[in-house]
């Protein structure tokens, strides 16, 4: 009897095997051992296979001369440059096309998203048609279409399509006028930086005054006046030390100006149009997520429609839009790797393609390439998270 009562007082110790903490520990150890064994197995096989095939290891190849030229490079590059430099050229080209794509996709996407919600039936339907068509066709197909079907069939340089004799589009690419800076442009540059700083301070001051006294200041107009006026004054005062270098037809191709190679043109076009269709949907759902009561409350308070949009709808819509917008930017950056398919010299094409074929060091090259994309993804998401935190609802 005494045994039974003491058993009741101190609860029976559960068996070790049914203790959830112990089970979790055992399971974790087992899982870690399995993964470690798997990784060990792969590494051993890889080392063995590489030895067998006579593939050298290590990153020494980055210092060797590449021996191939690259179609477009933002930095000095020729056949004698190293593979390390090849990597850098590819990386810069990837960043260039991604940045251009993000810029244009954002503009087209926001316009299309707003048009999709237009009260005008025709406009809204046209935007819907745009979204549904370009969202549902593979990006690679769109790149091929713009590059092979449209780009190759553009007229030659002699019959190039031109806008005002300064912008030429032909099967050799897009030629734009290039700004040429002369001595003394420094002053204008400083003026631009100075006016930007001034505008930031002005905006802060106007905001403080508004919060303290309720008096409004025409920040937008004043900022525009400062941003355009001051640099323009300095520019003309120093004797217009800049001119535009227009491309002109000489022989079989254009000389001068900025040349956008057809590969870059097709890739940017396809990336922007494709991603913009997704961004448009994001924008539409973000704006629709702002409840109608908010707009009505703003009207009831007597806000003008333009103010309602700027002060009530957009700030709330942005909170919904930013997270999916971030993933669209990430997708665009990753999708820029499709450049390899049309020969635009991006990271995948020149590094994971040509360099890998020449050196055969698959493991190092693929590892570098993948880490670059992981890093780019990380940077974009950190930036957008910071922006998101800035825009997030501040609850009191």
């Amino acid at each position: 009897m005494a045994d039974a009562s003491s058993e009741r007082d101190t609860p029976a110790k559960p068996r070790l095997l049914s203790d959830p903490k112990f089970r979790a520990l055992v399971f974790q150890i087992l899982a870690s051992i399995t993964v470690a064994a798997f990784i060990f197995f792969i590494v051993r096989n890889t080392l063995h296979n590489m030895e067998l095939r006579g593939i050298s290891t290590g990153f020494g190849f980055l210092d060797r001369a590449s021996g191939f030229g690259i179609l477009q490079s933002l930095i000095e590059y020729n056949e004698t440059s190293t593979y390390g430099r090849t990597f850098l050229v590819g990386l810069l080209n990837t960043i260039l096309v991604s940045a251009l794509g993000v810029f244009f996709a954002t503009i087209i996407g926001f316009i299309m998203g707003v048009l999709r919600l237009s009260s005008n039936w025709l406009i809204s339907k046209l935007a819907a048609v745009y979204i549904e068509i370009f969202r549902n066709i593979p990006l690679l197909l769109q790149i091929f279409f713009w590059y092979y079907a449209i780009g190759f069939n553009l007229p030659g340089p002699r019959q190039a399509l031109s806008v005002g004799e300064s912008l030429f589009l032909s099967n050799r690419g897009l030629y734009l006028p290039a700004p040429v800076f002369e001595d003394g442009f420094m002053a204008t540059g400083l003026a631009i930086i100075g006016s930007i700083v001034a505008v930031i301070f002005l905006a802060r001051w106007a905001r403080k005054r508004f919060e303290a006294t309720g008096q409004l200041f025409h920040t937008v107009y004043a900022s525009l006046a400062i941003l355009i006026g001051v640099p323009a004054l300095v520019f003309f005062a120093t004797g217009s030390p800049m001119h535009l270098d227009y491309p002109s037809l000489q022989g079989f191709n254009f000389q001068g100006g900025v040349a956008v190679i057809p590969e870059l043109f097709a890739l940017t076009l396809a990336l922007s149009i494709y991603t913009a269709a997704f961004i448009a949907e994001t924008v539409r759902s973000g704006i629709q997520a702002v409840s109608h009561g908010q707009t009505e409350a703003a009207s009831a308070l007597g806000l003008r429609p333009s103010w309602t949009l700027r002060l009530v709808v957009i700030p709330q819509a942005m909170r919904v839009i930013i997270p999916p917008l971030t993933s669209q930017y990430l997708n665009l950056t990753k999708n820029s790797s499709l450049a390899a398919a049309i020969g635009y010299p991006d990271l995948v094409a020149v590094f994971a393609g040509t360099t890998l074929n020449q050196t055969g060091q698959a493991v190092e090259i693929i590892a570098i390439t993948m880490s670059v994309y992981l890093l780019l993804s990380l940077i974009i998401s950190i930036f957008m998270n910071w922006y998101n935190a800035k825009m997030a609802l501040r609850e009191r």
Binding site: P20, K21, A24, F27, Q28, A31, S32, V35, I42, N45, T46, H48, N49, M50, L52, S118, S119, N120, W121, L122, I123, L126, E132, I133, R135, N136, I137, P138, L139, L140, L141, Q142, F144, F145, Y148, A149, F152, N153, K334, N335, S337, L338, A340, A341, V348, A352, L356, A362, V363, I366, T369, M370, Y373, L374, S377, L378
Partner: protein
């Protein structure tokens, strides 16, 4: 003195606010800006549509078997019809294409009941389509048994390969994705959780094209000496790993959407972890993530075109291949428009289906 109150008959609404005119005024010409936009849109349509329709249909050539038939100046659909069988079946032996057709017909026959309202055995049939049907499909496609002629995987191509890559990739990624999602949710097991997070974030952070490069050049190095994988299988492994990370994130969304009370109730009943997940949580979670899985399937379906980079010829690869044929040079637009049409039909139908499913399924879990 009593007045009989007899209301006058209602006046008809102003002519400008009802009927076609009213609709036009409300939707197209409600104010000056809208009117301008409408006029601009009409101008745009009037300049773009007629030449497009002319090229696509009116002046197009439909009948013939060589480029000589294309004389009208419009689209040359003869190119597509002459190459149609390679676009659909790749280089599959012509006498054996009935096997592919049989797979399509059987698949459609299995899928139809899934869309019928009130069909009782949807779950069983769905599991059959996902897990048993691929075996049947593989036997038919590969052959070598039951007197079927054996085919090489290099003969598989065209739309068949596209559908094969996308569906096998998605089906194989499903169990892996569910396990990864469960692992990521396992807060009491930090080691397992961090391994799952690492795996998911790694595959989600790299482009599919580098995954395909990796599976084609690095995978052979990973294997023990003497073991080698077929090119198609290597691509499939890469696609599966890639897709499993995306499915894991979708499933995680579903797991998080299930109210906490469901987890607690299962614990209170004394169910073990796997019983809790298998009987209570996953059946509910998987139901609400079906639209999400369909969406990742659509994305994968579009992304399979990338296998062209590692030398597999899916439907786009077959079109590219046909465009290099000296007999058909210069018909790239027709080829791309046709391929775009094929992809568009598939993706648009699936996305509409997923949207309707979302409306139907996402009930009761919104909080």
């Amino acid at each position: 003195m009593s007045h009989d109150f007899a209301p006058l008959p209602d006046l008809p609404p102003p002519a400008a606010s009802v009927g076609a005119i009213g609709w036009l005024r409300r939707n197209l010409f409600s104010n000056a800006i809208n009117s301008l936009l409408t006029l601009f849109a009409i101008y745009l349509l009037a300049t773009l549509l007629p030449p497009l329709i002319n090229w696509l249909f009116v002046k197009a050539d439909w009948i013939g078997d060589s480029r000589d038939a294309c004389t009208s100046g419009g689209a040359c659909w003869v190119f597509v019809s002459a190459r149609f069988s390679t676009f659909m079946y790749g280089f599959f032996p012509e006498s054996e294409t009935w096997r592919i057709n049989l797979i399509y017909i059987a698949l459609i026959a299995c899928m139809v009941p899934l869309f019928i309202e009130g069909f009782r055995h949807k779950v069983k049939l769905g599991l059959f389509v996902i897990f048993i049907f691929p075996i049947f499909g593989f036997i038919l496609l590969f052959g070598g048994v039951f007197g079927l002629e054996q085919t090489e995987t290099s003969q598989w191509g065209g739309l068949t390969l596209t559908l094969l890559l996308a569906s096998v990739g998605c089906v194989a990624a499903l169990p892996l994705g569910i396990i990864l999602a469960l692992g990521r949710q396992a807060t009491n097991m930090p080691a397992v959780k961090s391994m799952c997070v690492l795996f998911i974030e790694f595959w989600r952070g790299v482009p599919l094209i580098t995954v395909l490069f990796m599976s084609s050049v690095m995978l052979p190095l990973f294997l023990p000496e003497g073991v080698s994988f077929d090119k198609l299988l290597r691509a499939l492994i890469g696609i599966t790993l890639f897709q499993s990370a995306y499915i894991a994130e979708v499933v995680r969304g579903g797991l998080q959407a299930i109210p906490k009370g469901q987890y607690e109730a299962a614990d209170a009943l004394g169910l073990s972890y796997w019983k809790k997940m298998g009987l209570i949580i996953l059946p509910q979670a998987l139901k609400i993530v079906i639209p999400g899985i369909v969406n990742t399937f659509i994305a994968l379906f579009k992304d399979t075109t990338l296998v062209i980079i590692v030398g597999l010829l899916d439907v786009l690869g077959m079109v590219q291949n046909a465009l290099n044929d000296p007999n058909w040079l210069g018909y790239s637009t027709e080829g791309y428009v046709f391929t775009a049409f094929v992809f568009w039909i598939f993706c648009f139908t699936m996305s509409r289906y997923s949207q309707s499913l979302e409306r139907k399924l996402h009930t009761g879990h919104k909080r």
